[in-house]
Symmetry: C2
Subunit: 149 residues, 2 copies
DNA sequence: ACTCATTCGTTTGCTACCTAACGATAATTG
DNA sequence: CAATTATCGTTAGGTAGCAAACGAATGAGT
């Protein structure tokens, strides 16, 4: 742990990174006893809230690259938390379904929504709105600079 | 790409994640032609600015886990960009030095400081200060919740 | 009906991050 | 001075992210 003076001159970008990693670390810590990664949790969360979903739709909703998602789904299938079947309509697509094991695990998982409250609770709506505006603007500018195909 | 309505209700945490990944993606894109990862660049940046450094000091300064840094240094040594020697005083420690090849590469690398300006340039000092305050506060609260040894 | 373009998911290869454990070395304690 | 604790860096094993390429299936255009 470094003292305050080490972080005094960190940029917005640096704080964005630190904040993201702090939230992720806490999530990973709480999920570790359940042998679940934070993105694995995110996928289960989506299936619990949206029901069986086409893999591509889920990937778009959670903003996960196809290669990334493919690996995560493989892990969840191996853990028998998710079932992956062919979609009848379009043989290119896969349908993802929460298994009974997955549902049982979900019921045992701690509620992680406290993390966001713990991080940002009590901060004024105005300050939160400003932060969102700044991060949103920055994200969009950066994505504009990325050469998208 | 999803339309605006998909991002309307994203939380601060979600925007923090998106912003971080957008910056990282841009950095990785610009560095790819030089066969350099963004954290590898960060290590070179530190050595250029601070001179030869003890590995642990560098790790602390850049907030990298020992295992993470060990792997990154191994990659930079394999690429002959960094030399890793024993520190005379303390045989547990390693001294990291930029090689001539590393210095030559650094001179050829594009200046990436534009990324921060591109992301946050033109935003009022007050808004930036608010964003930093919010992210800093959130980070510290999350780190407090993490069980640190 | 055929050709070409696009989409979907996987695989390969890589970077980055992290926990836990280990061995070697140094610091601390009694 | 010996025993214990702490530190440093590596290794093992895992999660997560991404680019690029591939094959199979579907859609678009003629």
């Amino acid at each position: 742990m470094h003292d305050q003076s080490d972080t005094k001159n960190l940029s917005v970008g640096a704080w964005t990174k630190r904040c993201y990693f702090a939230g992720r670390a806490l999530m990973d810590e709480r999920l570790r006893p359940f042998d679940l990664g934070s993105t694995q949790w995110y996928v289960l969360w989506y299936l619990v809230n949206n029901g069986p979903s086409v893999q591509r739709d889920l990937g778009r909703a959670l903003e996960l690259e196809r290669a990334t998602l493919s690996g995560i789904i493989a892990t969840l299938v191996r853990k028998d938390l998710v079932a992956q079947t062919a979609d009848g309509d379009d043989q290119r697509q896969r349908l993802l379904t929460l298994t009974a094991t997955g549902e049982a695990l979900w019921r045992r998982l701690p509620d992680l929504s406290f993390i966001h409250d713990a991080a940002f609770g009590g901060i004024s709506e105005a300050d939160l709105a400003t932060t969102i505006r700044v991060l949103k603007s920055a994200t969009e500018r950066l994505q504009t600079l990325l050469r998208k195909d």
